[in-house]
């Protein structure tokens, strides 16, 4: 800006007043509570007020109390399984659809894009309930369908069996979110200059070679963003389990995740605590935050090294 004349540009009070309302709301209702919840993990108290400083006591209980630590590690482990299956199923299906929808001419591309993305716009609670009804072992639509086509041996209580419940819940979550990686991979693939494929094709490279040698390396930054988004989303997941199974993560805690464990300890006061234990809840939230933070750093390291484009680091920060 040329400083040849004095303008209201120099009036810092006006600019401060413009920024202030947003800064105040964001600081009071987001930045402060997030930081303060970590501080509160060092306190205990009764009801909703926490005023006894107890040092690391909440963390000690979280990791050593037999019942609490058992539930914590169970939820932690389940959450990793949830994440693993999501990466495997949701994100590879997303990549596959993105490759199909950006590849050779195909009728109805726009139609399929629209359909694939529908569930993303719906409430997780509502889709969770719909799938719970469909999967009901007695009168659910899935089992009626299975017995109609002669596969009634597959008509099982998927949500009631500890061996299959977590997988079923994860697949419903993958069904819901598959549109996200699909659209992100499409955006990434559309940015790859077309002559790159053409020269590879002229060199006689097949579809698989073009994918492995040209497309995938160029997609690595998007793979990183998708991984981070999935990771953050999965370790904050709550609604899907709450809708399909309940806050206790039944059957036998097999669908208990960090989100449901946090809800029970810090907010609702259900097993393994009798009444809301907000200090312990704050400790659970802090541990979740540290796990997320470490995960984001590692994912950024793994996929970020391949590109030195400075514009990219901004995108990763945001994801």
């Amino acid at each position: 800006m040329k400083r040849s004349f004095r303008t209201p540009q120099d009036n810092w009070i006006v600019w401060l007043l413009f920024a202030l309302p947003a800064v105040v709301v964001y600081a009071v209702f987001m930045a402060f509570p997030v930081v303060n919840s970590m501080r509160l993990s060092f306190f205990s108290g009764s009801g909703y007020s926490l005023n006894n400083f107890v040092g690391f006591d909440n963390y000690v209980r979280l990791f050593t109390d037999s019942e609490i630590s058992k539930r914590f590690w169970c939820a932690f482990r389940n959450n990793w399984i949830f994440f693993g299956i999501t990466m495997l199923v949701q994100n590879s299906i997303g990549l596959l659809f993105a490759l199909i929808l950006t590849g050779k001419p195909l009728k109805g591309k726009g139609f399929f894009r629209t359909i694939i993305f529908i569930p993303v716009t719906l409430s997780v609670l509502v889709t969770g309930y719909i799938w719970k009804l469909i999967l009901n072992p007695q009168w659910g639509a899935l089992n009626i369908l299975l017995s109609k086509i002669g596969l009634s041996s597959l008509a099982l209580p998927w949500l009631g069996d500890p061996r299959s419940a977590l997988v079923a819940v994860t697949l419903v979550s993958a069904w819901q979110w598959v549109g996200m990686p699909t659209m992100m991979f499409i955006a990434g693939l559309e940015r790859i200059p077309e002559d790159l494929f053409e020269s590879a094709q002229i060199d006689g490279a097949g579809i698989w070679r073009i994918f492995a040698k040209v497309k995938l390396p160029l997609l690595m930054p998007i793979v990183g963003i998708v991984t981070v988004l999935t990771f953050v989303g999965n370790f904050n997941a709550f609604d899907v389990v709450y809708a399909m199974e309940g806050a206790n993560g039944p059957p036998d805690y097999s669908t208990d995740l960090m989100g449901t464990f946090f809800y029970r300890t810090g907010i609702a006061g259900q097993h393994p605590v009798g009444i809301p234990d907000m200090g312990l809840g704050a400790a659970v939230a802090t541990v979740t935050f540290l796990v997320l933070f470490a995960g984001i750093l590692i994912a950024g390291r793994l996929t970020g090294e391949r590109n030195e484009d400075p514009g990219r680091s901004g995108a990763e920060r945001r994801a």
Binding site: P8, A22, I93, V126, F238, D239, R318
Partner: protein, 279 residues
């Protein structure tokens, strides 16, 4: 790719098969929900997939005339509209200030917002619950609004900052020489120009706010203060076997979003993925 036109694409049937099967998998649950919401109980058991033989709108009638759901719907509408209006207004003012205010403080304010893009606000739930109690907002519909606004501001400031920075400065300078005040410039020059970015930010926030369960669940227990999604959690407790009612409520809570989405699918897809890929 264009070079391959004319050569038959042998993988085409498999592509259609994959996309077609997935489309069925997406539409099947929604179809089942919708058609059965219009059926009588016996017909649901007899034929859960076909069109209703006889229309039963009893479920919808009870929902509209004799249930708290219209109230929940209204609560959600107010929460969503107020939150998004505030996000757009406060966010664009702050973004405008961050772009045009040449000072180190403005740079820090911008970075303060950007830092919030990665942090899931749920981490702060324990303290937010205490804040709502001390503000006397617990058990009120409006308690969720400040949280949603705070949650939406980082992406709003980030997106609008980029957009406003891309505007030619001459546009505002001309007005400045005429002695127009900054708020006039904001209202009559900046806002009309950033409208596309405002739409993106609005859509990005619309879906998570309308669909949110977590904050209503932990803040609101009073019946008439519930949002629609929190209201839906009551379904299975209270209307255990009233299928047409359960399905009517589920249909009513997603059909508006689906219709809005179908009307502006492009903007929705762009808006909802905007937070992630733009680098």
């Amino acid at each position: 790719m264009r070079a391959s036109i004319g050569i038959r694409d042998r993988s085409k049937p498999f592509k259609y098969l994959a996309l077609g099967l997935w489309s069925l998998l997406v539409l099947f649950p929604l179809w089942t929900m919708l058609v059965n919401s219009f059926k009588f109980k016996n017909d649901i058991y007899l034929d859960p997939f076909g069109l209703p033989r006889a229309f039963n709108i009893g479920g919808y009638q009870t929902v509209f005339h004799n249930s708290p759901f219209p109230r929940y719907f209204l609560n959600s509408l107010v929460v969503t509209v107020v939150s998004i209006a505030l996000i757009l207004f406060l966010g664009s003012l702050a973004a405008y200030s961050c772009v045009r205010w040449r000072s180190r403080l403005a740079r820090w304010i911008y970075l303060f917002f950007v830092a919030g893009l990665t942090v899931p606000i749920k981490i702060g739930s324990v303290n937010l619950l205490q804040i709502m109690i001390s503000l006397g907002l617990l058990d009120t519909t409006m308690s969720v609004v400040p949280v949603y606004v705070a949650m939406g501001l980082p992406i709003a400031v980030y997106t609008l900052f980029e957009f406003i920075r891309g505007l030619p400065e001459e546009l505002t300078e001309a007005a400045l020489i005429d002695g127009t005040g900054p708020f006039r410039i904001y209202r009559s020059i900046i806002v009309p120009l950033v409208r596309p970015a405002l739409a993106t930010v609005a859509i990005f926030n619309l879906v998570p706010i309308w669909n949110d369960l977590w904050f209503p669940l932990i803040f609101i227990r009073k019946d008439d203060q519930r949002t629609l999604i929190l209201g839906v959690t009551r379904l299975f407790g209270e209307y255990q076997t009233d299928w047409s009612k359960i399905l009517a409520v589920l249909s009513l809570s997603c059909v508006p979003v689906i219709l809005l989405y179908l009307a502006m699918a492009k903007q929705f897809i762009a808006g909802l993925t905007a937070g992630a890929v733009k680098g």
